[in-house]
């Protein structure tokens, strides 16, 4: 028996998320006296994969045939299923992002395994398997049990943190038997985006609201984000007005994110917006209105003119990062 961690392969690179997921799996494994096994699909160098050993993974299956570089959810599901059987995995962990959401539910059906997404903490019990998850878009926490033989989890990013736990990692080639051709889904076009960092992956998010007054003024936030290696985001009215692309909208009806730091700049902090960031470790509210509800949920707050504060902050962070290199 083992715990299987699905390792996301982003163009030959690992994401920090996968390290955190491995650390989470290792904590479960220590309690249950199991090994942590990983599965990665597509081309990726062993040097990159070795990092996983630092967080407690002892064995990694690598299905690196080039034909799998193109993600097809249906095929990926079958590859994971075969890996589950190969290593007799009782618990299967996916990242709580678009890829995890695309494959884990499919696998749940194939394995008749209980599927628990948006997990907030380590399991509180294994008999029966019990864990806390996010519900009602952050307005409640649900305790969920699964009585199935296998269980699939997607722990939320930053819910657990990175914990080093070095191991010798054995990387093995894995050749799944996929009978049918890959071609039910055919790629007919692709555009690479300029901005590299995805909102869901970002440790730091710089987000602006109506208080930014115009689409042009978001340049200030982009500069701050560039300094911090952060992603940019926005509130709903900003996306609805087309000041920013719709996929940057964070909130109850947009993206739900849980970065380490969320800068809410010129965002009043309506309940629907806060629902999208309630998982953030630290919320920084910057608003000209001292009564803005964002200060009810923020960890740090500053009242003032964003157009003055942001450039100053940017300069200070630049200096700070330079000094601490």
């Amino acid at each position: 028996m083992s715990i299987l961690v699905y390792i996301r392969n982003v163009g030959g690179q690992l994401k920090k998320q996968s390290l955190e997921l491995t650390a989470y799996a290792k904590a479960m494994a220590d309690t249950l006296n199991l090994e942590v096994t990983g599965l990665v699909i597509g081309t990726i160098a062993d040097d990159e994969l070795k990092k996983l050993g630092n967080y407690g993974m002892s064995r990694l299956l690598k299905a690196d045939d080039e034909k799998y570089n193109q993600r097809v959810n249906r095929v990926y599901t079958r590859i994971v299923e075969q890996a589950v059987n190969e290593v007799d995995a009782k618990y299967i962990l996916f990242p709580d992002n678009a890829q995890g959401k695309a494959i884990a539910p499919r696998l749940s059906v194939r394995l008749k395994a209980g599927f628990i997404p948006q997990v907030l903490d380590l399991p509180s019990s294994y008999e029966p398997f019990t864990v806390k998850k996010r519900a009602f878009t952050g307005k409640a926490i649900a305790t969920v049990t699964a009585h199935t033989e296998r269980v699939i989890l997607t722990p939320m990013l930053n819910s657990f943190g990175l914990r080093e736990n070095a191991r010798d990692l054995e990387i093995q080639s894995f050749e799944p038997h996929i009978e049918e051709p890959n071609s039910r889904l055919e790629l007919v076009g692709k555009q690479l985006s300029e901005e590299g960092l995805q909102l869901a992956d970002a440790d730091i998010v710089v987000s602006g609201g109506r208080g930014m007054r115009s689409s042009e003024n978001f340049a200030l936030l982009e500069e701050l984000a560039a300094t911090l290696g952060a992603a940019t985001a926005c509130s709903r009215p900003v996306a609805d007005d087309g000041w920013r692309p719709a996929d940057e909208h964070v909130g109850q009806t947009g993206k739900i994110i849980a970065p380490n730091i969320y800068f809410a700049i010129g965002i009043s902090g309506a309940i629907q917006h806060v629902a999208g960031v309630s998982g953030a470790k630290c919320i920084v509210g910057i608003n000209s209105d001292p009564e803005a509800p964002i200060f009810e949920v923020a960890d740090y707050g500053m009242v003032g003119d964003a157009f003055q504060i942001i450039p100053e902050l940017n300069a200070l962070f630049k200096k700070h990062i330079h000094e601490n290199k």
Binding site: N73, F136, L185, K190, L192, F317
Partner: protein
């Protein structure tokens, strides 16, 4: 071409969430139910495709798993522009039950594609779309931001980690959509509201299926420690680095 939209209903986003029976049940006495926002965007786009004479889409059907209380939600969907609504008569206990009920009804239905909102605002599982695709043995295309047509063949655009991809599927697909699929939900017009009652709303019995997981209890999220107000950008940088140790 027919488009099927799977919908769920959730407490209105401004509703306070309370629980009863020792925090084991959602207290639904004062809840106003609304269409799950992502499903509303999915329906909006489906109706726009139907109204656009340049696409082969000519029919939109909405499907929901739920008790009689969700019928007003379905009629709102009809008012927005769906042609037909189907309610599968059971209050599901988990995503697997929902997906299984939908699959039993949708199996073999002639359609171009099936659309599901990425997740529902109640249990935030983001599971039904993927489960449904697996149960039907259809391709699933997630993070879909738009649908174009090459003749009668739909081309789906999806957001991937480093950009956008356009894909074509051999046979029907389950699309999992989020914000961006439509900009804002369509507001039903008077004609739509008036004709909603005359459109078919079929109720079909549920099949027997056990849930895979059980929601045993709810708790309130931990309350925040309170905001620390800072006066200068220097203080903020210092707090984030020295106190919170996040930078």
């Amino acid at each position: 071409m027919k488009v099927l939209v799977c919908m769920s209903y959730i407490p209105d986003t401004t509703t306070k969430i309370r629980f009863r029976e020792d925090n084991t049940q959602l207290d639904d006495t004062t809840i106003q139910w609304v269409i799950n926002p992502w499903d509303e965007l999915a329906l909006t786009r489906a109706v726009e495709l139907k109204e656009d004479a340049g696409t082969p889409v000519d029919e939109v059907e909405i499907v929901m798993v739920g008790g009689v209380r969700c019928e007003p939600i379905l009629r709102k969907g009809l008012a927005i522009g769906a042609d037909k609504a189907t309610r599968i008569d059971v209050e599901p206990l988990d995503a697997f039950q929902t997906a299984t009920q939908l699959a039993a009804y949708l199996q073999g239905k002639d359609c171009g594609f099936i659309v599901c909102g990425i997740e529902s605002g109640d249990y935030n599982e983001a599971a039904v779309g993927g489960m449904l695709a697996e149960l039907l043995d259809y391709a699933s295309v997630s993070s879909v931001s738009s649908v174009q047509f090459d003749g009668v063949t739909p081309i789906y655009q999806r957001d991937v980690a480093n950009g956008k991809e356009q894909v074509k599927v051999d046979g029907p697909a389950v699309l999992i959509v989020q914000k961006g699929f439509a900009r804002v939900p369509k507001i039903p017009n008077m004609r739509g509201i008036m004709t909603a009652r005359s459109k078919p709303l079929d109720v079909i019995p549920a099949i027997e299926v056990d849930p895979l997981v059980e929601f045993v209890m709810y708790t309130a999220p931990p309350s925040k420690g309170g905001v620390k107000m800072l006066n200068t950008p220097e203080e903020l940088v210092r707090s984030l680095s020295d106190e919170a140790k996040l930078i």
